[in-house]
């Protein structure tokens, strides 16, 4: 395949662990919404597991990401603790954000999740600032901005790429191209055949990669991250993928081509990678099953704890608006 970087066995298993965590977390999210136990707005990342999993194994705990509303996979891959995440999804005081942010604004600086935005394209300019701080301090940190293909048509994308290129910021722009911007197909909205080509306008590397192939994704991520860390500037990665469950959970996704969806699901990257790990002698069915069971249990415990946790006090409305509490 001519890849410059290949993950070792431990890293391969780490990638798979993140992937199964994301997949199972998504399955349990959809089930818990349908059960009525935790009602929440939910943008399923199912089908996009590989991208942040293969990227995050190349990041340090101190590196930061800025992600978007369809971002549970990015957060889990970066290490947001399940209990904190689930309590936030349930709007509880024990959540990452004390229940004040919710699914679209999960924040957990301790694991490097600095911003989750509900605004298309807004992760990029902010990631630039995080990278700018690293550049000024010379601390060797890198920042990753995650966004979708739709974001490549908003002004912030272009402003951010240009500034990052001019200032050689240690930032990696990761476009998760799932072929739809909300309900509308990529070709209908985007003049560029490939998002990656837009990097040419800013004279930075633009790479299109199969975002459902862990090895290719790992290689592209490591190349871009190493480059940023070395002070050589930003990279735009266009990771090709597909979202299995439409834009927002509950939408009828009639705008999606049925055959296209079925084909994508038949080519599900998670079981595919699982089989590859077994076929190539990196693990066994029994070992992976044990890992999957443990992960599933951890998620169940987090959900149970979230349901049992208290809601925030209404006095929280006056806190965290400013540093000083708003007088009652």
């Amino acid at each position: 395949m001519g890849l410059a970087h290949t993950p070792d066995r431990a890293t391969l298993l780490d990638i798979y662990r993140k992937m199964t965590l994301i997949k199972q977390n998504d399955e349990k999210s959809r089930a818990i919404i349908l059960s009525g136990k935790i009602p929440m707005v939910y943008y399923s990342p199912r089908g996009q597991e590989v991208i942040p999993s293969a990227i995050s194994v190349n990041l340090k705990a101190t590196d930061n990401i800025c992600t978007i509303y369809r971002g549970t996979h990015d957060m889990l891959a970066k290490g947001v603790p399940l209990k904190d995440l689930w309590a936030e999804l349930a709007g509880k005081s024990t959540g990452t954000c004390k229940g004040k942010g919710g699914p679209m604004h999960i924040t957990h600086p301790a694991s490097g999740v600095l911003v989750t935005t509900g605004i298309v394209g807004s992760s990029l300019p902010i990631a630039n600032g995080v990278a700018l701080a690293s550049q000024i301090r010379g601390d060797g940190g890198v920042a990753v901005a995650y966004f979708g293909d739709g974001a490549s048509n908003i002004g912030a994308f272009h402003e951010a790429l240009n500034m990052a290129a001019v200032w050689k910021l240690p930032v990696i722009f990761v476009c998760q191209n799932n072929l739809y911007g909300e309900h509308t197909k990529y070709e209908k909205t985007t003049a560029a055949k490939r998002v990656a080509d837009r990097a040419d306008s800013y004279q930075i590397p633009g790479v299109r990669v199969d975002g459902n192939d862990p090895l290719a994704m790992y290689d592209a991520a490591k190349t871009a991250i190493d480059r940023a860390r070395a002070g050589d500037g930003p990279t735009l990665i266009e990771a090709m993928t597909f979202r299995f469950y439409g834009h927002v959970f509950g939408d009828a996704d009639r705008y999606m081509d049925d055959g296209e969806k079925k084909a994508a699901m038949a080519n599900d990257p998670v079981p595919r990678f699982r089989q590859w790990l077994i076929d190539n002698g990196h693990s066994s069915d029994a070992d992976l099953s044990a890992m999957e069971t443990a992960v599933g249990k951890e998620i169940d415990e987090a959900i149970e704890a979230a349901i049992a946790a208290p809601f925030p006090d209404v006095a929280e409305l006056r806190k965290d608006v400013f540093a000083e509490e708003i007088p009652a």
């Binding site: 959540g95 600032g129 995080v130 000024i136 951010a160 500034m163 540093a323």
Partner: protein, 335 residues
């Protein structure tokens, strides 16, 4: 600190005072960084020279001229602020903040709350505006009411060089996002030099002149004309208390209400258009809290409901001045 060396008797203008504050902030804290269009010295240190000397002294890592990309400018400030820097981002003119509204309103203002206090955005956005320079409809608007309406933003407007110095330093050192609005005409007006090292606290109004008959609430470019009105009316035995709000959001309710409880009459004046302006909020609160004590309905002064016009006579008519403010004060005492 070349400007600080100016002797006490020597007047300075707001450009010089702001420049002193920025030098002091950058000297004191290496986390203070400055960027915006044309702010570095090769680009002349800002269009009027507020940032002059900073890039030469503190280097191009910390002081940068940016692309004309307001979203990217504010976004970079937010990101750097979250990880502990204290960015001072310049958006050259207040009208240009409109293209960065997503960053300011959806992100800078809310990230502290939405993260449950895990992150905060200690940034200062310096911007300038004001009519009177013949720049027409897109270079002179006052949008302080927009920003004041967004929970999480502090909005500050200085009325003199010394005020600009003390308030800007407080904004830079504050842990919340501050919109610092400079007036383009006041840039060039000389005033008493600031005392180096002084800070003017945010959220505290300044009772500039005490009086008993009417409270006149103002800020920014309307402070000088308000004082002129108070002077003129003292000749007619009308005693006007003048309050410089200094911080528009969060505004100093306690000082304003205490004053109006004493004078039992109030006028609010600003250059922004009158409908839905800051005056409407302050007037409403005064009515809500002190209705039965008021001797007259609160009066508001603001620009007419029109875009900022170009032609000189139109622009002059657009800008509320001494006569308009005086008439509003007189209206509260039935004269």
């Amino acid at each position: 600190m070349e400007n600080a060396a100016a002797s006490k008797s020597q007047k300075v203008n707001m450009i010089q005072a702001l420049n002193m504050a920025l030098h002091e902030a950058m000297e004191k804290d290496k986390n203070v960084i400055v960027f915006g269009e044309d702010v570095a010295d090769p680009e002349e240190g800002g269009i009027v020279g507020v940032t002059k000397g900073l890039s030469t002294k503190y280097g191009e890592l910390r002081v940068r001229s940016t692309p004309i990309s307001e979203q990217a400018i504010v976004g970079a400030a937010i990101g750097a602020g979250i990880v502990g820097m204290r960015p001072v981002a310049e958006i050259m003119l207040m009208n240009f903040t409109t293209v960065a509204m997503d960053m300011i309103v959806n992100h800078a203002a809310k990230l502290r709350f939405m993260s449950g206090g895990q992150t905060h955005v200690p940034i200062t956005i310096r911007t300038a505006t004001g009519s009177g320079l013949g720049v027409g409809g897109q270079h002179a608007d006052y949008y302080e009411a927009w920003f004041a309406h967004v929970p999480g933003l502090k909005v500050v407007m200085p009325s003199s060089p010394a005020e600009a110095y003390g308030l800007l330093l407080s904004c830079i050192e504050d842990d919340d996002p501050c919109i610092f609005v400079e007036n383009t005409l006041l840039y060039f007006a000389p005033g008493t030099p600031p005392v180096p090292g002084t800070r003017i606290p945010l959220g505290k109004a300044n009772v500039i002149r005490e009086g008993n008959d009417v409270t006149l609430i103002c800020y920014g470019p309307h402070v000088a004309p308000s004082l002129a009105v108070a002077d003129a009316l003292s000749q007619e035995n009308i005693s006007v208390e003048v309050i410089d709000l200094r911080t528009i959001a969060p505004w100093d309710k306690a000082t304003v209400l205490a004053s109006v409880a004493k004078t039992r009459r109030a006028v609010i004046t600003h250059e922004a258009v009158k409908p839905f302006g800051v005056g409407a909020e302050i007037s409403s609160v005064i009515h809500e809290e002190l209705f039965s004590q008021l001797k007259a309905p609160v009066q508001r002064v603001g620009a007419p409901y029109s875009p900022v016009p170009y032609s000189k006579p139109l622009e002059t008519a657009f800008m509320p001045g001494i006569e308009t403010i005086k008439a509003a004060v007189l209206k509260t005492i039935n004269r």
